[in-house]
């Protein structure tokens, strides 16, 4: 996203998030529920490991033969009556979508939730073109009222508590909701959106899958808003990343079993819809035109580099729900379209490493994200690969490079290292009293928040050698 460069640095955003206790409450509610529901779903799904292996194999196969499946998909989509457009990057994708809207004299566009749409900056592009955009997903509706970007790829408004949503609806809905219980608020949103659904000229959706052998696109939702976005308007535009391809409908279902359980803990979404071409003669409804915009935006570059495994991602959000860092700072602090572990891998691809250098580092490497990933993406390994690239490209701060280099020079000379450690632990002891060090120069990051155990006084190596010498003398 081009907006990243104008934002505060990562650490400032993280600090602001940490200070926001309402945000923490909202994050804990949503991720806590998500974690519990996923665990319950998996406990009733004994074949998860087999399904995960199959899901990974399907994605790896498609990634290895992406050219083949892209051509097959294009051929079949065209045969179904859809028009297929290719976008090399986000700017091209925005230009294609706005051109289609403008050529159709569209004044009102409805949009079903799509992270790819956020990735290519579609909301801003439509506004710049003077087109009214209405978000139809309930959570997207909330953040549209708040003028915000999504903070989670499944629950875009998860950073807002229901009390805050009530405030937004009170001023944003005309008339305001009858009451502020969830049911009344949902009813109010439904009333607001219903009129827009029927008056829209163009409906824009993403796709969870692109099915190569039928040319269909598949969306899954729990609200039915995608169906109302894609069916009544004259024109339906799908924007999708090229990694969404699957060979057949059966493969889409194999991945759906993993996606839904990992995302919400359900077995199936309420609505799973395959869109195959525009309205045909004799059809009761459907759009007159269907356009599919296939977006690369860095993906073919990932094919050839160490981030290839990231193309397996099916955008379930389990990695962020189980991430200790995400659960402290939420999604906006990451500063990119995609937050959490998967975002920390993807944002440097999309925004460049210079703008996103902090993200791969702001991770404890605990591995829980990889453990829950339904397609076995080795997220910590990929984050480490960014760190290695950042090091090779000389992007790491000078103090870090100098410190590590000095340490490595010592550590590769064991005799000198032993001597330095003996001196070091004695020096360190001077800063403490009793068993603890409460303040230590150059280690303020540690001692600002916690005490440091004071070293025993003699290193293991010196004690061990003395012990060996005594044993030798006693023999």
């Amino acid at each position: 996203m081009s907006h990243a460069t104008t934002r505060a640095p990562f650490k400032a955003r993280a600090d602001a998030a940490l200070a926001d206790r309402t945000l923490k409450l909202a994050i804990d509610r949503t991720t806590g529920t998500a974690e519990a529901k996923r665990a319950a779903a998996l406990s009733a799904f004994p074949e998860f490991e087999a399904a995960r292996a199959r899901g990974k194999a399907i994605k790896d196969h498609v990634i290895a033969h992406l050219d083949h499946y892209l051509e097959e998909f294009e051929r079949n989509a065209i045969a179904s009556g859809a028009r297929v457009h290719w976008a090399a990057d986000d700017a091209e994708a925005r230009a294609i979508v706005t051109r289609i809207c403008l050529e159709a004299d569209a004044r009102l566009v409805t949009r079903a939730k799509s992270m790819l749409g956020e990735e290519i900056g579609l909301p801003h592009a439509l506004a710049d073109a003077g087109i009214e955009r209405v978000e139809t997903d309930l959570a997207e509706h909330i953040i549209q009222l708040a003028g915000e970007a999504p903070s989670h790829i499944i629950w875009p408004a998860m950073h807002r508590t229901r009390e805050q949503v009530a405030d937004l609806f009170r001023t944003g809905h005309h008339p305001p909701p009858a009451a502020e219980d969830p049911a009344s608020m949902v009813q109010s949103a439904r009333r607001e959106l219903r009129a827009k659904f029927l008056g829209a000229d163009v409906g824009i959706s993403g796709a969870n899958f692109l099915v190569a052998d039928t040319g269909a696109t598949c969306t899954v939702t729990n609200e039915g808003n995608a169906e109302l976005t894609t069916t009544p308007p004259r024109i339906h535009i799908v924007t999708a990343g090229i990694e969404k391809l699957v060979p057949s409908t059966a493969h889409a279902f194999a991945l759906l079993r993993l996606l839904v359980r990992s995302a919400t803990g359900g077995e199936m979404t309420q609505y799973t819809t395959f869109h195959c071409g525009p309205k045909r003669p004799g059809d009761a409804d459907g759009p007159e035109e269907m356009h599919i915009v296939l977006v690369d935006n860095g993906r073919s570059r990932m094919l050839a580099d160490e981030f290839r495994a990231m193309l397996r991602c099916i955008r379930c959000g389990a990695c962020m729900n189980h991430c200790v860092v995400y659960r402290q700072i939420g999604g906006h602090a990451y500063g990119g379209t995609y937050p959490g572990p998967m975002g920390a891998v993807l944002t440097p691809v999309l925004d460049g490493l210079a703008a996103a250098r902090d993200l791969p580092h702001a991770c404890t490497m605990n591995g829980r994200c990889a453990e829950v990933c339904p397609v076995g993406i080795p997220l910590p390994t990929l984050l480490r690969a960014w760190r290695a690239r950042s090091w090779r490209e000389g992007r790491e701060p000078g103090a870090v490079r100098a410190g590590l280099s000095l340490w490595a020079r010592l550590a590769t000379r064991p005799r000198l290292y032993r001597l330095a450690s003996r001196i070091g632990v004695r020096g360190l002891r001077l800063f403490g009293r009793g068993g603890w060090i409460a303040r230590l120069p150059l280690a303020g990051g540690w001692t600002a928040h916690r005490d440091l155990p004071r070293p025993e006084g003699r290193t293991f190596m010196e004690q061990y050698r003395a012990w060996q010498a005594r044993k030798g003398a006693g023999r």
């Binding site: 402290q328 580092h361 404890t364 490497m365 605990n366 829980r368 590590l404 490595a408 916690r450 190596m461």
Partner: protein, 255 residues
């Protein structure tokens, strides 16, 4: 015991144990000897290289990997009182040196012989401590690398179950990271602090007298936070309790 010759074990002490808490290293020697091993501590060891590896400094990490591989060639087993250093040797070294014709096979050979200590005692030696008694309650934190990269979960619990009088208490979020993360805890100190604050609260809610874990880095983080927040929980490496050393000073107590 069987009549098999005693295995020769090289102990990798780890840089943190060497500097901060040597008694963990001596507990390791004691337990390995009780289990019937011949233990040696090669002097050519320093650090496994994890700080460089996780910072993306592959060249320095590879230098330390080669040094460690050379220092531990010829041992039947290499044992470490740390899941994260062991995981660096088991998974990190072979990755790091995969493209190095001279060292790739040696890295894989070391990886195949390397073990975190509690899993080595249980899975390889079939060992349980005998005659240990400790009247206390304890809770156990699963350090991430040991748990996820090496499958260390049942082994420390099986060993602790052999300590008479020791009551184990559950820890909410026992498999959730403590926020240490090596250099992460100083590079992103406020985030790390938020994570360890929640961990320390969960430890206190467990009501246990002792907190046990298998990695000194995580222990220093949790013990340091517990002490700063005024908690009375005493923190030990698992193997200190197994070696009967819990009557000595806990982390942060003067000996």
């Amino acid at each position: 015991m069987s009549a098999k010759p005693a295995p020769r074990v090289g102990l990798f002490v780890t840089c943190l144990v060497d500097a901060i808490r040597p008694r963990i290293g001596f507990a390791a020697i004691q337990l390995l000897e009780e289990a019937g091993c011949i233990v040696e501590v090669p002097l050519a060891q320093t650090c496994c290289g994890q700080p460089a590896f996780n910072s993306g400094d592959d060249a320095d990490a590879a230098r330390l990997a080669r040094q460690t591989i050379a220092a531990f060639e010829g041992f039947d087993h290499v044992v470490l009182p740390s899941g994260s250093c062991a995981a660096t040797m088991v998974h990190g070294y072979p990755d790091l040196l995969a493209g190095d014709a001279d060292w790739a096979a040696r890295a894989r050979d070391l990886a195949a012989r390397t073990h975190e200590i509690t899993s080595f005692l249980v899975d390889v030696m079939g060992f349980r401590p005998e005659g240990r008694r400790l009247e206390a309650s304890a809770t156990y934190h699963d350090s991430c690398s040991g748990l996820r990269d090496l499958g260390v979960a049942a082994q420390p619990r099986a060993l602790l179950a052999a300590v008479e009088g020791l009551q184990m208490r559950g820890l909410e979020g026992n498999d959730v990271c403590c926020g240490f993360g090596g250099t992460f805890c100083v590079k992103y100190a406020p985030i790390s602090n938020a994570i360890v604050t929640e961990k320390a609260e969960a430890i206190q809610r467990s009501g246990a007298d002792l907190l046990l874990a298998g990695d000194l880095g995580c222990l220093m983080n949790m013990a340091g936070k517990l002490h700063r927040s005024g908690a009375a929980t005493r923190c030990f490496h698992t193997i200190e309790v197994l070696a009967g050393q819990a009557d000595g000073p806990a982390i942060g107590e003067e000996g």
